[in-house]
């Protein structure tokens, strides 16, 4: 009885959603349809089961929001290409597995006796909490209000380098137990492709994925380009559709706000006018702190670089960042990177340059240094988001 009733409810929801023109594209390009099965899920990517699961293309963009200090790695960034990955998902009563396949002509293993060679790697992350009324985390490993769980596989010689972390932003990864987690990463010499399968329980200590729409984000590392840590390519939040669970229409409306995205093959109507958005970007002084496209005058490290934010940030996240920057305070990259050349202490240590801190602390609570632009008209905000969504160029990275 109960089962039939539930199925009917899902049917109605599905109807409602598909009746909406904007969500059509969202479900087509942003959502990974998971295949529900009854048998055990195989982590072998060549298992025939994976052929049955529907594949969705996900684009991963070079991370340029923060700049690290490896000279050789930085020199390669402007020449990088976005990575196109094929993603699938399968689930049963107990577990969920995510499959990701991407092209890499140079398979790299971190060897046992070198100092400057790096491993290819792949990771996926889930927000620890998501669903109706819960805002999306910062995609780069979460933020203090939004912890995420990260699964990582690296190709290191001599050992199976698998790790699971809970993270609240840069530098905050805490390793947690890998039991119940299985990750397989294999290279196909013929097609020059990596494939990885991540398998985990639907529910664990940190996350409950039993939901109609589960946010997930992807990252890959190319060891050949000195990639490790924040030096990687990443996707924006994508969503896994688990048919067995009810789809919350409010949540669909929330996460699909502001589509289409720049990497969609067919775009349709946008939420605003990017030309006007660009003017607003200038008028509101965004470029004083942020670098993006032709705006390259802000001091390096002053604020996140927005050069390819249109690829890695979800539209709703961009909107929230503009009107409510305190919701997602991104942890600074190590603040000791900048010091003020005044008032050294008696051991000649210079104090940190607070100009480069992204937040201030009042009564122990962090507040973003970015003011909330709540005074803007709704259409102006939409125009700004429409402009930010066009930003997918990292050729100016220095």
């Amino acid at each position: 009885m109960k089962k039939t009733l539930k199925a009917a409810v899902i049917g109605v929801t599905a109807f409602f959603v598909s009746a909406n023109a904007t969500t059509d594209g969202f479900f087509k390009y942003e959502v990974i349809d998971a295949l529900q099965i009854n048998e055990e899920i195989s982590t072998n990517p060549n298992n025939p089961l994976w052929e049955k699961a529907k594949s969705t293309e996900v684009t991963l963009y070079p991370q340029v929001s923060v700049r690290l200090n490896d000279k050789k790695a930085n020199e390669l960034i402007p020449k990088k290409e976005a990575v196109k990955a094929q993603v699938k998902a399968i689930y049963n009563d107990k577990n969920i597995a995510v499959y990701i396949k991407w092209k890499d002509n140079t398979p790299s293993v971190q060897p046992p006796f070198t100092t400057n060679q790096f491993a290819d790697g792949v990771s996926i992350e889930f927000p620890n909490k998501f669903g109706k009324g819960i805002t999306l985390p910062y995609v780069g490993m979460g933020d203090e209000n939004h912890p995420v769980t990260v699964y990582l596989q690296k190709n290191v010689a001599g050992r199976d380098y698998q790790k699971v972390f809970v993270s609240k932003g840069f530098g905050s990864l805490t390793e947690v137990d890998t039991k119940n987690v299985d990750i397989v990463m294999t290279y196909d010499e013929k097609n020059k492709e990596w494939t990885a399968v991540f398998k985990r329980p639907l529910t664990d200590e940190y996350t409950d994925l039993k939901a109609g729409l589960v946010p997930i984000a992807f990252a890959v590392w190319d060891g050949n380009q000195y990639e490790r840590d924040g030096n990687k390519s990443l996707s924006r939040w994508k969503f896994i559709r688990l048919n067995k669970f009810e789809l919350d229409k409010d949540y669909v409306e929330y996460v699909s706000w502001g589509v289409p995205y720049v990497d969609w093959p067919e775009k349709g109507e946008d939420i605003g006018d990017p030309e006007n958005g660009k003017k607003l970007f200038q008028q509101n002084g965004c470029a004083a702190c942020h670098r993006a496209a032709e705006f390259q005058t802000a001091p390096l490290g002053m604020a996140p670089d927005l050069s390819d934010i249109g690829g890695i940030a979800n539209a709703i996240y961009l909107k929230e960042s503009i009107i409510n920057p305190n919701d997602v305070i991104i942890r600074n990259l190590n603040i000791n990177r900048h010091y003020m050349k005044t008032n050294p202490d008696r051991f000649k240590a210079y104090p940190n340059n607070s100009m480069y801190e992204w937040y201030i602390k009042t009564d122990g609570k962090k507040q973003s240094k970015m003011p909330a632009f709540t005074h803007l008209q709704e259409q102006d905000i939409n125009d700004l988001v429409a402009y930010l969504k066009t930003l997918v160029d990292w050729k100016n990275f220095k």
């Binding site: 490896d70 050992r159 990177r337």
Partner: protein
């Protein structure tokens, strides 16, 4: 920022390049567990490329505005040099004619590759030695570069350490250190560096490199202790200067610049009066513009002694006894430990067990059938745990 700061002064006039410090450090800390190629202490010949090769050109440190600069990570083979062995067994256990002494790999660089090479033509060629350890900087480049914030500067004495639990082996620290004195351990995929022998320091003993120094060139003490010889050399007489102060990290290892160079000769082989064989521009590049005043002071004080007058500075540099050269404070650390409620072996709490693991652990084979490292106990445990799953 540290409340106190330990410092070391090295008198380059007395360094004979014997590498005893290097060996003291190696046997104490770096002859095992993936650290074999590392020299937390090395002695290099200047002018020269040093160790790792051309470290002065490898970037890192801070620019004039106080912003961290990009750097590179030296290469194991080309810049550090792979440790190699000789075929002693073959030579000693068979007829010697059949074998020649040869290394088991074809080395292209090593920690003393350009030792005693120097620069210039006979009879005016010159060189001097610079022993180098981690500078335990007041604004460390390695610490600033770490996205994990895994590197910390101890409040009680300013010693810079890597928290091996937090380190994920990203190696930005190596790019960030302009002295390239932090190293990547490929065996454990983490960064490691000179720890200023802090377990010794806490017991009132100087670092092994300083204690073993044959030429007695090293002084160790707290920079805020006006009775210490390091204070007198650095602050009172201002004859001890940091290496490459332009790198912007405020090092806490100081050098008394070399003034006792042989004279320069003219075409007829006669010494030229008042001419230094070591070019002042080179010393200025290494030790900054203060080197002129430091050398003037040293020469004036030496002249005093020659006239039979008293000179406290010369007495210090003669290095009469260890008790004065090393002013450490065992009680100070006892007090801190008591405040933190630590006892006995808990002093080692911050140090990973890998540092105190004995040298006789079983050897393991590397992936290509070569014996690289000794068993790394933490890793072994990890593997055991995996098998249980």
């Amino acid at each position: 920022m540290a409340k106190r700061q330990l410092a070391m002064v090295m008198d380059l006039n007395k360094c004979i390049g014997c590498q005893t410090c290097t060996v003291a450090c190696k046997t104490q800390w770096t002859n095992r567990n993936g650290r074999e190629y590392m020299y937390w202490n090395n002695v290099e010949t200047h002018p020269g490329a040093g160790y790792p090769r051309n470290w002065m050109e490898a970037g890192g440190g801070f620019d004039d505005q106080g912003n961290l600069k990009d750097g590179i990570i030296p290469d194991m083979v080309m810049d550090y040099g792979v440790p190699w062995d000789y075929n002693h067994d073959e030579i000693f256990n068979s007829s010697a004619d059949e074998f020649v002494l040869s290394p088991n790999t074809d080395p292209v660089w090593g920690p003393n590759w350009d030792e005693d090479v120097g620069i210039g033509d006979w009879p005016n060629s010159y060189f001097f030695y610079i022993p180098r350890i981690c500078n335990h900087c007041s604004n460390p480049g390695c610490l600033a570069a770490c996205p994990r914030e895994a590197i910390f500067k101890r409040e009680q004495d300013g010693i810079v350490l890597v928290d091996l639990e937090r380190c994920q082996g990203y190696r930005y620290c190596i790019a960030g250190c302009p002295y390239k004195k932090i190293y990547f351990n490929p065996k454990i995929s983490k960064s490691e560096k000179c720890i200023f022998c802090f377990p010794r320091i806490e017991k009132g003993l100087p670092p092994a490199c300083a204690h073993q120094c044959v030429g007695r060139i090293r002084f160790v003490g707290f920079l805020d202790d006006e009775e210490s010889q390091v204070y007198k050399l650095v602050h009172k007489y201002k004859v001890a200067l940091p290496l490459r102060p332009d790198f912007g990290t405020q090092p806490n290892v100081y050098y008394v610049p070399p003034v006792l160079a042989p004279p320069k000769f003219d075409e007829n082989g006669k010494p030229i009066e008042n001419e230094q064989r070591l070019p002042m521009e080179y010393l200025e590049k290494l030790f900054g513009p203060e080197v002129h005043q430091a050398i003037k002071t040293l020469e004036e004080e030496m002249a005093k002694r020659e006239r039979g007058e008293e000179s406290e500075l010369m007495d210090i540099l003669i290095a009469y006894n260890h008790a004065d050269m090393f002013r450490l404070d065992h009680n100070y650390y006892e007090k801190i430990a008591a405040e933190q409620g630590l006892k006995g072996s808990e002093y080692f709490k911050i140090v990973d067990v890998r540092y105190i693991q004995g040298a006789n652990t079983k050897k393991v084979e590397g992936v290509f059938g070569k014996v690289y490292f000794e068993t790394q106990p933490a890793l072994k445990k990890e593997e055991e745990n995996k098998e249980h799953h």
